[in-house]
C-alpha cells in the first residue's frame, strides 16, 4: 500500500543547510518565501522507523524536492504527481520528526481532515433529507397542504445550498493554496 508509505521528514532547524539540494531554501529566502523544513516522498526502508540500528531514511523524493529551485514548484499543484525514483538519504540524527500524512502530521492536515470530514457528514445529511423528501410522506403532505410541502422544499434547499456555499470557500483554501 504505497499510500501508507508516503512520509514527511521534518529536518532539525540547525541542519537545514545540509539538505539544501533538496530544499532550495537559498533561493526561497532571496525571494522572500518561507523556507521548506520538510522533505517528503515514498519511504523505501520503512523498517528504519522501528529499527534503531538503521541510521538513515531512504526516501524516494516527491517531484518538488528533486527540482526545488524550479519556479513551477513555488506554487502547490492540484493534480497528483507520484514520488520519483530519485532517492535521498537522510540521517536520523538530522530528523526532527517523521510522520505519514494523517491528521497527526501537522495543523494543516488536522484541519484538512476535520473540515473535509465534517463537510462530508453534512453532504450525507443533505442526501438523507432528499431521500426523505422522496418518500410517500411528501405526496400525502402535498395533497393535504401544498403550502406546507413547499416550505419543506424551501428549507431543504437552503440547507443544501448553504453546505454548497461553505465548500466554495473550503475547496480553494484546503485543496489549492
Amino acid at each position: 500500500m504505497q499510500k501508507f508509505e508516503h512520509y514527511g521528514i521534518f529536518i532539525k532547524p540547525g541542519v537545514l543547510e545540509k539538505y539544501e539540494q533538496y530544499l532550495g531554501n537559498n533561493r526561497r529566502t532571496e525571494k522572500g518565501m518561507e523556507p521548506r523544513i520538510e522533505i517528503s516522498g515514498h519511504l523505501h526502508n520503512p523498517e528504519a522507523l522501528k529499527d534503531p540500528n538503521i541510521k538513515e531514511y531512504e526516501i524516494g523524493l516527491d517531484p518538488v524536492f528533486v527540482d526545488p529551485n524550479n519556479p513551477s514548484n513555488d506554487r502547490p499543484h492540484f493534480l497528483y504527481a507520484p514520488p520519483t525514483d530519485h532517492i535521498a538519504k537522510i540521517e536520523k540524527e538530522d530528523v526532527d520528526r517523521i510522520d505519514s500524512f494523517g491528521p497527526w502530521h501537522s495543523a494543516y492536515f488536522a484541519s484538512y481532515f476535520t473540515i473535509t470530514g465534517l463537510h462530508g457528514a453534512h453532504v450525507l445529511a443533505g442526501v438523507l433529507v432528499f431521500i426523505y423528501m422522496w418518500l410517500p410522506v411528501s405526496k400525502r403532505l402535498y395533497q393535504r397542504n401544498p403550502e406546507h410541502l413547499a416550505n419543506r422544499v424551501e428549507v431543504c434547499g437552503l440547507f443544501w445550498h448553504f453546505v454548497d456555499l461553505v465548500w466554495i470557500f473550503v475547496f480553494p483554501l484546503f485543496y489549492l493554496l
Binding site: M33, R75, H77, E154, D164, F169, P172, L173, L177
Partner: protein, 113 residues
C-alpha cells in the same frame, strides 16, 4: 377541523405558472454552469504566481466570494427576499466575523514548542 384547501387551478393560471417554472429552471442551470466554469478558473489561477502567498489566497477568495454571492442570491433566493431576512443576515454576519476575529487573536499568542 381544517378542511384541505382547494388547490385546483384554472388552466390559464396553470399555464402562466408553468412558464415561470421553466424560466426559473433555466436560471438555475445557468448559475450551475457558471459555478462549474468558475471552479475551473479557480484551479487555473492557483497555478499562477501572484507574487506572494497572501496575494494568491486573496485572488482565490475573491473568486470564491463571487461564486458564493451567486449561490446565495439565486439558489438561496436572497436576491428576492424581504427586508427582515436581510436584517437577520446582517445580525448573523456580525457574530460570524466576531468568531473569526477570536481565532485571529491566535497570532498574538501563538503555540510554540
Amino acid at each position: 377541523m381544517n378542511n384541505p384547501p382547494d388547490i385546483s387551478q384554472d388552466p390559464a393560471e396553470h399555464e402562466e405558472y408553468a412558464h415561470n417554472v421553466q424560466k426559473h429552471v433555466r436560471g438555475y442551470l445557468t448559475v450551475g454552469a457558471l459555478l462549474l466554469a468558475f471552479t475551473g478558473i479557480t484551479v487555473a489561477l492557483s497555478y499562477v504566481d501572484f507574487g506572494t502567498r497572501k496575494a494568491n489566497i486573496g485572488v482565490a477568495m475573491l473568486v470564491a466570494t463571487l461564486k458564493a454571492g451567486m449561490v446565495a442570491a439565486i439558489f438561496m433566493h436572497l436576491a428576492a427576499e424581504k427586508r427582515l431576512i436581510y436584517r437577520v443576515l446582517i445580525f448573523t454576519g456580525f457574530f460570524v466575523l466576531a468568531l473569526f476575529w477570536l481565532t485571529y487573536l491566535a497570532w498574538y499568542n501563538p503555540v510554540v514548542r
